[in-house]
Symmetry: C2
Subunit: 213 residues, 2 copies
Amino acid sequence: MSDRTRLTRLRERGVENREELLDFLAGQFIAHLAVDAGGYPVALPVAYALDREGDQLYVHGSVGAGWMRSAPGSPVCVTVTSVDGLVLARSGFHHSMNYRCAVVIGDARLVEPEEERARALDLVVDQIVPGRVSTLRANTRKELAATSVLAVPLAEASLKRREGGVGDEPEDVEAGTWAGVLPLRLAAGEVETDPLTSRPVPEDVARRAAELR
Amino acid sequence: MSDRTRLTRLRERGVENREELLDFLAGQFIAHLAVDAGGYPVALPVAYALDREGDQLYVHGSVGAGWMRSAPGSPVCVTVTSVDGLVLARSGFHHSMNYRCAVVIGDARLVEPEEERARALDLVVDQIVPGRVSTLRANTRKELAATSVLAVPLAEASLKRREGGVGDEPEDVEAGTWAGVLPLRLAAGEVETDPLTSRPVPEDVARRAAELR
């Protein structure tokens, strides 16, 4: 937590508990990475992994991705958002979202050692489907060379959350207008097995699909 | 489309059709807004609305939100992402996501006229639940004064998409490893009516919930 990630408003929505932040980051798998692309910011979705040991996030992209090339050595922002519901209040003004949002700001480091890059990519795959890496062949050196990995320290990080019901004006409640919450979550459909395999869905994938059902 | 939003890689994932971009922006309701917060970028989730007539996006926040205060007059990035699936390939390297992602880069304009601000906020509510504005009282002048609205032109915008199945190496396919896709979508649960009302769920909300089921 620093001046850059300290919440300037609605502090009651800030979550001070570090474990809660880490658990949230462990449970998601999509981030938006914002970088200064040379006079203007660009934010794009990326896969990421939480590295608890190293107290950092790994973000991966292609070496060919120009917008990521300016990131190393510069401050970047990694934002992980879960949209948890639509808060449908009795006035437009009080409409809101339930959400959890982690914001990490730090200097991005280009991960150079091949060994660390290999570990980071394994963490990214296991963040998507825990246990999957152990069922796959290792990445080749050529594959590792074709992938950029950024590390972003978790030193400056905060978690913000809105949950619960509507917060309406008493006169709008008296007027009898309907209000409520529509819960939302990222949900999985049925696993679509590739036609080129006749194997059954592996256990790790089935478990992940069930968690996200 | 400009140099800033032109895709530098995987051009086959770029979607040149402007109508497709607008339809995508019309169907979503969460964006990540990235701004230069003074030497470092910050991206945060926001509600937004597509203004087809004005060929722009409206983004709204609180006047108290410090990070949005530096946006007017500066280039910002509005990124709208739909995560459509996990692409679980036969190697870590070929793991991917199915997604659609619109990126809009432009100078943010603080919307000053009260009338335009009122219209913009109505568009934001109707983007979340189409038709809802007509069932609510109008925002008060006090409420309008407490809300900042940014307009971002759609002149520089692009849509990128990945869809379909895995793209594996022939030797991994021959090895017989399982692969497949786990479809994902933002899905609604049951509407939770506020305990302070006994009215039935309005038609617009029921329709939206059914669309997102």
